[in-house]
């Protein structure tokens, strides 16, 4: 009876070890990617605080004059608002764009390799007049730049 019990333990141990190795391997493979996975919680958040928390945890966000958000003063069509974000700091890891007045503020985030010049242009949808906020992560710090865009006809509904 005793030997059987020992054998059972051995089998269990073996199974545990195998699964640990498999787990480690899968983590290792993920580790090859320099980038975080999709920040789905940030996309699901319905307010700015929730979005910031999902993106950066409790990290403080500092305003920075080194971030430029370019966009139209007045957007006649909120369905297509061209936005360009430029950051002057070095070693930018990511740029996120959020629109606080949209039903879900998170618009996009860009993870970047060090070879990237921190400058991205996209066209976004805006439901109504709002700031367009760029959040730039550089050297472990989060910086913020913003520009208000007035929207004549919103671009989120039907």
């Amino acid at each position: 009876m005793k030997t059987l019990e020992i054998q059972r333990r051995k089998v269990l141990k073996g199974a545990l070890a195998t699964s640990l190795v498999a787990l480690a391997a899968s983590w290792g493979m993920l580790g090859n990617r320099a980038y975080a996975s999709r920040p789905q919680m940030a996309f699901d958040a319905e307010d700015v605080d929730g979005t910031l928390k999902a993106l950066f945890g409790d990290d403080a966000v500092q305003d920075s004059g080194e971030i430029t958000v370019k966009g139209p003063e007045i957007a006649e069509n909120g369905a297509v608002v061209p936005i360009k974000v430029t950051a002057k700091m070095n070693d930018v890891q990511s740029i996120a764009i959020i629109v606080p007045e949209n039903p879900a503020p998170m618009v996009a985030s860009f993870d970047m390799e060090s070879g990237i010049v921190p400058e991205v242009s996209v066209r976004i949808k805006m439901g109504k007049t709002s700031d367009v906020i760029a959040l730039v992560k550089s050297n472990g710090q989060v910086y913020r730049g913003a520009k208000e865009v007035k929207v004549t006809i919103g671009g989120c509904g039907g």
């Binding site: 369905a79 996009a108 985030s109 993870d111 390799e113 996209v122 066209r123 949808k125 989120c156 039907g158």
Partner: protein
């Protein structure tokens, strides 16, 4: 759904990538005018650019990116003649890929 792209050396020695993806970018909040039924969300979630096997940029998008999304960015390193691989995939599992040569 296709990608159109232009990849060019700029005067500052960087490479500028401009791309346009043909995609409806449905938010899931619109309703069909005839039936009144909601149109399911359908949007590009991820866009990446790879150079020499290395991912240079990874864009995570939500439905607030405009229909037929436009994206432009700059990278340093690639030279004229090099090939960049641009990829996208959406929330329904559809995807596309294009090689773009630096000119």
């Amino acid at each position: 759904m296709t990608i159109k792209s232009k990849t060019k050396m700029t005067s500052d020695g960087n490479v500028q990538v401009k791309m346009l993806i043909k995609h409806p970018m449905e938010t899931g909040q619109r309703k069909d005018r005839k039936t009144g039924k909601p149109i399911p969300a359908h949007y590009v979630e991820v866009v990446t650019c790879e150079w020499q096997g290395k991912e240079m940029i990874r864009a995570h998008w939500g439905p607030a990116i405009s229909k037929n999304p436009y994206l432009s960015f700059k990278i340093s390193g690639p030279q004229a003649g090099d090939t960049l691989t641009l990829r996208w995939s959406d929330n329904k599992g559809e995807s596309g890929e294009q090689q773009s040569q630096v000119s």
